[in-house]
Amino acid sequence: MSTTAAEVGRATPTGAITAADLEKDRSFKGTIGDITSPNARMVCRDVNVYYGDKQAIKRVSLDIGKNEVVSMIGPSGCGKSTFLRCLNRMNDTIPGCRVTGLIALDGVDVYDKKLDVVPLRAQVGMVFQKPNPFPKSIYENVAYGPRIHGLTNNKTELDELVETSLRKAGLWEEVKDRLDQPGTGLSGGQQQRLCIARTIAVSPEVILMDEPCSALDPIATAKIEELIDELRENYSIAIVTHSMQQAARVSQRTAYFHLGDLVEVGETDQIFTNPQHKLTEDYITGRFG
C-alpha cells in the first residue's frame, strides 16, 4: 500500500470522506480479515498514535457498524484502550499524544482541525473501566449531560429523559425511590450502569466501553453484558475487554490487537473457532496473554 496515513488525512481536508477513499483503503494488507462493516458508522484508516516518540498504535484500520458490537481483545499494553480513546478524542487530554490517519464518524473526519470535540463527544459516548459517577445525586448524574447540552426544554422532559435513560440502563427499578441520593453510594455494578445511563442520556450514536466490567463481580458483569446486548438495537458499540468469554458473549465482530498492531478482525464466531493468524490463535487458546 502506497498511501501513507498522512496522505489519507490530507486527502480529505473538508472532513467529508468520498466513496473512492473508502474503496482505496479496502485493499489494506496488514490486518487479516475484513475490517469493513456494511453499515459503517465509524471508519478508521491507518491510524497511528504516538505518545511523545513512542508509537502506541500502528496503522490500524477498522470499521464500527450500525447496530453492532465490536469487541477489541488482546494482551495488556497492546493499544486497544488507546485506540478506543482516539474514537472520541479523549486522548486530547493527554499531553504529548499525537494521532495521525483517518477516523471518521458518519463521513466526517473526527480529527479535522475545524471539528468541535463537544458535539463529537455528545455523539460518541464513553464508559470507563472504573465506574466514575460524579459526586452528585443519581438524578443529577444522569441529568448532567442533557443539562449542559440543553437537550430538554423543561423539568418534565428532563425527568422523562432521566427515567428512560435509567430504564434503558436497567437501573430504574433499583434506584427510582432514591434518585436524590449520591451516585457514589451505589454498588460497583450499579455505578457502572449509572455511568451507562449517563452516557445514554445524551443520545449518542456510538458508545465506547473501556473494559466496563473489569472492576465488577460476576453477577454485575452479567447484568452489564445483558445490557450491552439490548443497547445494540439503538447504538453502535465498541468494547475493549480482557475477557475473551465476554467478547464471545456480547460482540458480533472481534478485533485482535497485538503490540499496537491490529492483527485480525472477523466475525466473533469465526475468530474464536477458526482464527487465521498464529498470534490470534495463541492468544485465544491461552498460550499467552
Partner: protein, 462 residues
C-alpha cells in the same frame, strides 16, 4: 553568668565523652580487646557524657527558670512591713519592679528611697548567692554523674542500650513539647481570663456594646470605670475578615482553577511561585502597605466619589488582608482541585462537556468540601491576623457594618492593651488575655473543623 556555666558544662560533657571512651577501651584491656566490650567504645563515651551532662543540664534549666521568681519572692517577703502595708497587689508589683530595675541599673519610675535602695541591695546579694550556689550545685551534680559512670564502666555494661533508651526518652519529651505549648497557651490565657471575669461579668464582655478599657488612675477622671463590652471588637474583626475573604476567595479560587486547569505548563510554572511570593511577605510589610499606600488611596477614591472614607477604614485593612490571603486560598484550592481524580474529568469530557462546564459542574462540586475547609482556615487566618490591622485599622471601637468607617479588632486591642506600661493585674491588662482566650477558642474551633473536613475530603479520594 548562666551562659558561662552552660559553656563550662558543655566542655565537661565533651571531656566526659572523651575519657569515657578511653576508659571503656582500658577496662576492656586495650585496643586489641575491644571485642570483649558489649558495645562500641563510642557508646561508652556517650554514656559517660549523658551522665555528666543530663542531670546537670536539667538542674541548670530548672534553676534558671525559677531563680528570678524565688529571689523576687524573698525580696518581697523581706521588705519592711510599713512599705507593703496597704498596697494593692498591682502597686506591690510595681514596687518590686522598681527594686529590680534599680538593682540592674535600669530607669526607675519612682524616686529612690533608702528602703528601696536597701531592698535593691538585698536583691543583688540574693542573686549573687543564688549564682554561686548554682555553680556549685551544677558542677557537683556533673561530677557525681561522671563518677557514677566511671565506676559502672565494665565490658558487660550494655552502654548502647542505655544510651539509646535515654535518647528515646529525650525524643518523647521533644514531641510532647507541642502538647506542652498548647497547654501553656490554654493555661496562661485561661488563668488570666478567670481573673478578668472576676471583675468584669461574662455577660458584659460578650454582649456589651461599649468598649473603653482605659481605666483612669484617679477616680475623678472621665470614664474611670472602664467598659469592657467586646461586641464592637467582634463585629470589627468580622467586618475586616469578611472584606478580606471577598477579595481572597474569588481571586484565590479562580487563579487556582486557571492555573491548574487552563494555563500552559510554562505559565503555571512561573505564575504559581510568583503568586506564592505574597505568602512569604511578612505581615508588617502588608501593614505598612495598607497604612501608607492603600488607605490614602481608598480615602482619595472615596473623596472623589463624594464619600467620607475614614483614613483607617475597614475597607483598606480588609483589602490588604485579602491580598495577603490570596496565596493561602489559592494553594489550598489547588491541592483539593488536583485531588479530584482524573476519572471525574474524563467522565465529564466524554459526555461532551466543555472545560468550564467540567470545572463548574463537576470539579468544584467534587472539591467543595476541601475548598470550604480551606476557606475556613483562611477565615481563621484573617481573624488572627494582627499587624495589618494594628497598622491600618483604627483604635476606636465603633459598632458598625459600614466598611468605610474605622473599626477596631480583637487583635488590635490585645496589642494596644499589652504594649506600653502595664500593671499586670489591672482589668485592662487582663482584658487582653480574655480577648486572647476568645481568639484562641474561635480560631482553634475553626481549625479543627476545617482540618477535619479537609482530612475527610482527602480520604474520600484516596
Amino acid at each position: 553568668m548562666q551562659s558561662t556555666l552552660l559553656i563550662v558544662l558543655l566542655g565537661i560533657i565533651a571531656l566526659a565523652y572523651h575519657f569515657g571512651r578511653k576508659r571503656a577501651v582500658a577496662v576492656a584491656g586495650g585496643p586489641t580487646q575491644i571485642k570483649t566490650l558489649h558495645s562500641l567504645p563510642t557508646y561508652y563515651g556517650l554514656y559517660a557524657a549523658l551522665w555528666a551532662g543530663l542531670p546537670a543540664l536539667l538542674l541548670l534549666g530548672f534553676w534558671a527558670g525559677f531563680q528570678e521568681t524565688v529571689v523576687t519572692a524573698m525580696v518581697k517577703a523581706q521588705l519592711p512591713a510599713e512599705m507593703t502595708a496597704g498596697l494593692s497587689p498591682g502597686r506591690l508589683g510595681l514596687l518590686v519592679n522598681d527594686i529590680r530595675n534599680l538593682a540592674t541599673g535600669n530607669i526607675v519610675s519612682s524616686e529612690v528611697t533608702p528602703e528601696i535602695q536597701a531592698a535593691a541591695d538585698n536583691y543583688l546579694r540574693l542573686q549573687g548567692i543564688a549564682s554561686i550556689a548554682l555553680w556549685a550545685l551544677v558542677l557537683a551534680v556533673a561530677a557525681g554523674g561522671i563518677s557514677l559512670a566511671w565506676r559502672s564502666m565494665a565490658p558487660q555494661l550494655r552502654a548502647r542500650n542505655r544510651v539509646e533508651s535515654t535518647i528515646m526518652v529525650i525524643l518523647v519529651v521533644f514531641s510532647s513539647i507541642a502538647i506542652l505549648t498548647t497547654l501553656g497557651i490554654v493555661l496562661s490565657v485561661v488563668f488570666e481570663s478567670i481573673l478578668f471575669f472576676r471583675s468584669v461579668p461574662l455577660t458584659e464582655f460578650f454582649f456589651g456594646t461599649h468598649w473603653s478599657p482605659q481605666i483612669a488612675l484617679r477616680a475623678d477622671q472621665v470614664g474611670a470605670a472602664g467598659a469592657f463590652g467586646a461586641v464592637p471588637l467582634f463585629t470589627g474583626t468580622l467586618l475586616i475578615s469578611f472584606i478580606a475573604m471577598l477579595i481572597a476567595v474569588p481571586i484565590g479560587l479562580m487563579s487556582a482553577i486557571y492555573l491548574s486547569e487552563y494555563a500552559p505548563r510554562r505559565v503555571r510554572s512561573l505564575a504559581k511561585p510568583a503568586l506564592e511570593i505574597l505568602a512569604g511577605i511578612p505581615t508588617v510589610v502588608y501593614g505598612f502597605f495598607a497604612a501608607l499606600t492603600v488607605a490614602p488611596f481608598v480615602r482619595d477614591l472615596g473623596a472623589s466619589l463624594g464619600l467620607d472614607v475614614s483614613s483607617e477604614s475597614a475597607l483598606a485593612a480588609g483589602f490588604v488582608m485579602g491580598i495577603m490571603i490570596i496565596p493561602f486560598v489559592s494553594s489550598l484550592s489547588d491541592d483539593v482541585i488536583n485531588a479530584v481524580p482524573q476519572s471525574m474529568r474524563d467522565g465529564s469530557y466524554a459526555l461532551g462537556a466543555t472545560q468550564s462546564e467540567t470545572v463548574r459542574r463537576v470539579i468544584i462540586p467534587a472539591a467543595l468540601p476541601g475548598i470550604v475547609g480551606g476557606v475556613l482556615l483562611a477565615v481563621s487566618r484573617a481573624i488572627g491576623e494582627t499587624m495589618i490591622v494594628v497598622m491600618a485599622a483604627g483604635m476606636a471601637a465603633n459598632l458598625t457594618w459600614n466598611p468605610i468607617e474605622s473599626v477596631t479588632t480583637v487583635t488590635v486591642q490585645i496589642v494596644t492593651l499589652l504594649t506600653g506600661d502595664q500593671e499586670f493585674d489591672s482589668p485592662k491588662t487582663l482584658a487582653a488575655f480574655a480577648l486572647g482566650l476568645t481568639l484562641f477558642v474561635v480560631t482553634l474551633t475553626l481549625n479543627i473543623i476545617a482540618l477535619h473536613i479537609v482530612r475527610k475530603y482527602r480520604e474520600q479520594y484516596e
